[in-house]
Each structure stands twice: as structure tokens, then as C-alpha cells.
């Protein structure tokens, strides 16, 4: 039972936590994964020292660590510059106004180059927007497809045809359509952001849609009959029976779609030069300095770590909302 920790009296709970802090508890747990990482780093170092490229030696762990620090430092330098810029602007304007209260004062935005860390946040916001947009369509549509064979049969051919299409094939179309239709004076979103988010949405759609459909369609027949006997209204039926029953499958779909969405986003940013981690990688590649490969390698690792954390986040969320606390989730 997983809920023993909750039912234990506080003293025992504390004792349990204290026991976990003892090295004998966690050292064996961490030993094997650490060993794996150490072997990988050694192998990386060994092979990197043997690969000569036109941009210099392939970066080993040490160079990548240096570049990571550089990228962090660059970010804070850039932030300092931004703060200084606004301070200068304010001071200049104040002087102007004190000399002549009628003077026209100009406020300019700082236009510095986005740093690595800025690009990470841009990518995260974009993937979140695309993911949410896709699932706002996919979950309700999946529930409908699962509930009604008719709706399923109507949508199935379309789903089957569009599912295998790489969203990158959509990218030019999305770009053209967005620039043709989204022409507001003072746009809330940048066009590049919309392009990337819609492209991500186009690939996030399918795993959630298909898994939700299967989850809803495979609800225990007896539970559906119970609902019919109670004469539950369709809305209550969906809320109280369909959604809780389909939660495990919906989350399988959500996790798959977030993972593919993250992968596709990086590619889309590289291809379309939309701001984000993908653009960072491409810019560094075009830059071609001796540090470029190291900086790209930092980006590769960061992309991996973020992808891993996104999945962990979904898993934690799944554990929270899932009723079956005994289920083994991985």
C-alpha cells in the first residue's frame, strides 16, 4: 500500500524520513546510476579526444562544462546591460524633462540579443502553448470518438492520414497561413511564436486523441450499464465515469505528445529560425567559432534534461490525479 506513510502517526513518519537520510539507505540506490554516468563520461572524453572537426576538436565533458558556465555568465552580463540601458534612458529622459517640461520623451525597448537562458524560456513557453492548444482539442474529441462509434468512424480516416505526417511538413503552410491571417496592429503574440506553437500542436494532437479514444472506448461495460441504470445525464456520465476511467490512457497520450512536441519544437525552431533553443543551435552552427560545438553540446544536454523533467512532471501529475494508487507507473 502506498498510503501507509499518510496513515502513520507523525513520530513514526519522522522516523521513516530519518531512516531514509541515513547513507546506508540511499547510497545503494544512487550507486548504479552514478556508475553508468561515470562510464558514459569516460567514454565521451575518450572518443571526443579522437575526433577532429573543421571547427576544432569535438568537445569533451570539460569543454562543455566551461561553455555552460560561459553561457550562464553571458546571460547575467546581458541582464546587467539591460538594466543599465533602462537606467540610462530614464536618467536622460528625466534630464530632458527638467530642462523643458514640454519635451517629447521617447521610451525605447532594450533590443539585446536573446541569451541561451532566454531561448530556453522561449522554447518552454512555446511548447506549453502548443501542448495546451492541442489537448484542448484532442481530449474532448477523443472522448467523443470513444463514446460514439459513429463519430469515431467519421474521424478515423482523417486521423489515420494526418497522424504519420511530420509536423515539419506543415511548417511552411502554417507560416503562410499565420502571416496571411494574423495581421493585428499590436500583436499579443509574435508570428514566429504562433508558427512554432501551432506546429507543436499539430503533432501533440494525435497521441492524446488516439489514447483518449481507446481509453474511453474500453471502459468496463458493467460501469457503463450502472450509469445507464442510474440514468445519469451525458455530462455527469462523462465527468463521473468516463473521464476518471480514461485518466490512465489520457495521461499515456499526454506524455507521448509532450515528448514528441518537445522534439518537434527544436526542429521547427531550427528550420524556421523561430526564437528558441533550436535557433540557438542553428545560430551557433552558422557562427562556426571554436566554441560553437561545445555550446551546441550544452544545448543538446539541456534539451535532454528538460525533456526528462517534462516527462517527470507529467508522471507526478498522473500520480496525483490517478485513482489507482497501486498501479505501477513508469
Amino acid at each position: 500500500m502506498t498510503d501507509t506513510a499518510v496513515t502513520l502517526p507523525p513520530q513514526q513518519r519522522f522516523a521513516q524520513m530519518a531512516a531514509f537520510l541515513r547513507p546506508s539507505q540511499w547510497v545503494p540506490l544512487l550507486l548504479v546510476p552514478c556508475l553508468g554516468i561515470i562510464v558514459f563520461i569516460l567514454f565521451w572524453q575518450f572518443s571526443a579526444s579522437r575526433i577532429e572537426t573543421s571547427l576544432g576538436q569535438f568537445p569533451g565533458p570539460v569543454q562543455v562544462w566551461e561553455q555552460l558556465q560561459n553561457l550562464g555568465a553571458e546571460h547575467f552580463r546581458e541582464r546587467d546591460k539591460e538594466v543599465a540601458f533602462y537606467q540610462r534612458q530614464e536618467k536622460r529622459n528625466a534630464e530632458k524633462l527638467s530642462a523643458d517640461p514640454q519635451a517629447a520623451v521617447k521610451l525605447r525597448n532594450y533590443t539585446g540579443k536573446p541569451t541561451f537562458i532566454d531561448q530556453i524560456f522561449t522554447s518552454l513557453v512555446t511548447v506549453a502553448a502548443g501542448f495546451v492548444l492541442a489537448n484542448m482539442i484532442a481530449i474532448p474529441l477523443g472522448v467523443l470518438c470513444g463514446l460514439s462509434t459513429g463519430v469515431y468512424k467519421a474521424f478515423n480516416p482523417i486521423i489515420q492520414i494526418f497522424k504519420p505526417v511530420s509536423p515539419l511538413a506543415w511548417l511552411p503552410l502554417v507560416t503562410m497561413v499565420v502571416s496571411a491571417t494574423y495581421s493585428v496592429e499590436d500583436p499579443l503574440f509574435q508570428k514566429a511564436f504562433l508558427n512554432s506553437a501551432i506546429t507543436v500542436a499539430l503533432c501533440c494532437l494525435w497521441p492524446t486523441l488516439i489514447n483518449t479514444t481507446v481509453g474511453v472506448a474500453s471502459i468496463d461495460k458493467d460501469l457503463v450499464n450502472v450509469s445507464r441504470v442510474m440514468a445519469l445525464s451525458p455530462l455527469v456520465h462523462v465527468r463521473k465515469i468516463v473521464l476518471p476511467a480514461a485518466i490512465p490512457m489520457i495521461f499515456t497520450g499526454l506524455r507521448l505528445s509532450l515528448a514528441t512536441g518537445w522534439m518537434v519544437l527544436i526542429a521547427a525552431e531550427m528550420l524556421a529560425q523561430n526564437p528558441g533553443l533550436g535557433k540557438f543551435v542553428w545560430d551557433e552552427f552558422q557562427n562556426g567559432s571554436s566554441n560553437s560545438l561545445g555550446r551546441i553540446m550544452v544545448a543538446v544536454l539541456v534539451i535532454g534534461v528538460i525533456g526528462f523533467m517534462l516527462d517527470k512532471m507529467m508522471l507526478t501529475l498522473q500520480k496525483r490525479v490517478s485513482w489507482d494508487k497501486q498501479a505501477v507507473l513508469r
Binding site: A231, L232, I241, W323
Partner: protein, 296 residues
């Protein structure tokens, strides 16, 4: 003929699986009085559950129909609550919430929030499950789950309580306990009950009448046995009671001597024609005491 409480008339059903027609039931006639406890017994696959599902409104009869208090049954509804074989509680709702789901649906307009809460607790007390109100179905035993399933149905105050092999998945001791609980609840509340069972002892112990079904395809009612044992019934006393033993013997004879699953088609056709010409006494009727409810 006066209008009976529950009236199943000439019910037959044909299933269409991939273009192949399968006739499961033919000419099923059964009439129930209010407060009567009727068991349906027969070999597996004979269509007992189908009869129950038609009464519940979960299946639509191909011909014939069911009327409850003179009104035709077309849809499933809470006035014909069903207890399914494997409890069918929502695993994500607590015991209390499972019953509340039904109570809130049925009494949303007629009972206040406090009254509903009381009514839920009352029904859980009836089945001795008030101690586990906050547990999830996965945390209680199979027998307890089925108790909650029964409480959920009782809480809907159904006109007819339909039990689809309610104790089939339980061990013998738990089953006996639940049978006793069901018997005392039914005596106290006077529910009208149709129960499907495989268990001959269970049928004789609980029922006012036992409806014995012939084997499918085109299954129908083979015979109906009146159980005139006085109530309250006690399983220990009845075990050696001559009437009880005799009734039990009659059901066994029907099931294993006349309608053994592996018997020849000849017997089947006799049973069919017997059902169709129900006014004429068939071969079974000369042996068993027929209640005559089959007469259309």
C-alpha cells in the same frame, strides 16, 4: 386478468452478430406480484441474464415486452436497479460516494442535502457497511464490495430489484452471510426481486418462486416452482426439512435430468414446443408442480 406489478409477455430476442442471427430467447412469459422474490435458474448461456437485461431496459426485446405497473419498459432507469455479478463499483469513488452518485441522481429534487446524506448512511447501515464509508472499493473485500453494490441499488428505492448472480463470485461462507442479509432486508422492506443464480440451495432458500429456464438457443421458461416454505427461513433448520429437500430435488432434476447441457436436441425441441403451446401441459409439467403463470 388483473394487471400484475411486473409483466413480462411473449418476450423473445434475436442477436445479430456479424450478419449471423442468433435467437437467444423465445416466448418468455412471467408475471410478478409486488413484494415477490423470484429466482431465475438455468445452465450458463441459457439467457437468464438476457431476461434480466430486458427487464432492466439494457437490452431491447425483439418481440414481446415488459410492463412495470402497467407502463412499458423502454429504457434503463433507477426504478429497476441492477446488482451486477462483479460489484461494478466505480473504483475511483469511495464507498460513500458510490452510493451518493446514485442517491444524488435519484433524489436530487426531492431530498435536501442533509436528507440525502442521512439516506446514504442509512442504506450503508442496512448492509452493515457504515464502517467503511471512506474506503475505496479496492480496499475492501469482495463480499463487502457486493454489499455496497446492494446498498447502492436499495438506495435508489427501485420498484424491482434485479440481481444478476450477485453472490456468484464469492466464497461459500461470505455467500451464506450475504444471502441471510438479503433475506432479512427483503423481508423488512418488501422489495420485489428477480435474482439470477446458478446455486440451487440459494434459489430455494430465498425465493417465493423459482423459474427454471431451458437451454439456448431459443431458451424459454421450462417450468416454475412454487416455494411455499414459511418465512422467516433459517438455513440450518431448512437443511433437514423434508419440503426443502424435496424442492431442491425437483430443481436438480430439472437441471440435470431433463435439461442437461449435453443432452440431445430432441429434448430441446420438446421444451420449445412446450413453451410455444404453453396452455397444453408439457412433459415437465406432469412431474413438477407448475404454477400456471406461463399460461398467456
Amino acid at each position: 386478468m388483473s394487471i400484475k406489478y411486473l409483466d413480462i409477455t411473449g418476450v423473445g430476442i434475436e442477436f445479430d452478430t456479424n450478419g449471423k442471427k442468433y435467437r437467444a430467447l423465445q416466448n418468455v412469459n412471467l408475471k410478478l406480484d409486488k413484494g415477490e422474490f423470484v429466482s431465475l435458474i438455468g445452465h450458463s448461456g441459457c439467457g437468464k441474464s438476457t431476461v434480466l437485461n430486458i427487464v432492466a431496459g439494457l437490452h431491447q426485446a425483439t418481440e414481446g415486452g415488459v410492463a412495470l405497473e402497467g407502463k412499458e419498459v423502454l429504457d434503463p432507469g433507477p426504478d429497476r436497479a441492477v446488482v451486477f455479478q462483479n460489484h461494478s463499483l466505480m473504483p475511483w469513488l469511495s464507498v460513500y460516494d458510490n452510493v451518493a452518485l446514485a442517491v444524488d441522481q435519484v433524489f436530487r429534487k426531492t431530498k435536501s442535502r442533509a436528507e440525502r446524506r442521512q439516506w446514504i448512511e442509512h442504506n450503508l447501515q442496512l448492509v452493515n457497511m457504515e464502517h467503511a464509508m471512506d474506503k475505496l472499493p479496492g480496499e475492501i473485500s469482495g463480499g463487502m464490495q457486493q454489499r455496497v453494490g446492494i446498498a447502492r441499488c436499495l438506495a435508489m428505492e427501485p420498484k424491482v430489484l434485479l440481481l444478476d448472480e450477485p453472490f456468484g463470485a464469492l466464497d461459500a461462507l461470505t455467500r451464506a452471510q450475504l444471502q441471510d442479509s438479503l433475506m432479512s432486508i427483503q423481508t423488512a422492506l418488501g422489495n420485489t426481486v428477480i435474482m439470477i443464480t446458478h446455486d440451487v440451495d440459494e434459489a430455494v432458500l430465498l425465493s417465493d418462486r423459482i423459474v427454471m429456464m431451458t437451454n439456448g438457443p431459443a431458451a424459454t421458461i421450462g417450468d416454475i416452482l412454487e416455494v411455499n416454505l414459511p418465512r422467516p427461513r433459517d438455513r440450518l433448520e431448512l437443511a433437514e426439512d423434508a419440503d426443502f429437500v424435496h424442492l431442491r430435488q425437483q430443481v436438480l432434476e430439472f437441471l440435470y435430468a431433463k435439461h442437461d447441457k449435453h443432452e440431445s436436441q430432441a429434448v430441446q425441441s420438446v421444451a420449445d414446443s412446450c413453451a410455444q403451446l404453453s396452455a397444453i401441459p408439457g412433459p415437465e409439467k406432469s412431474v413438477l408442480s407448475s404454477s400456471g403463470t406461463q399460461a398467456a
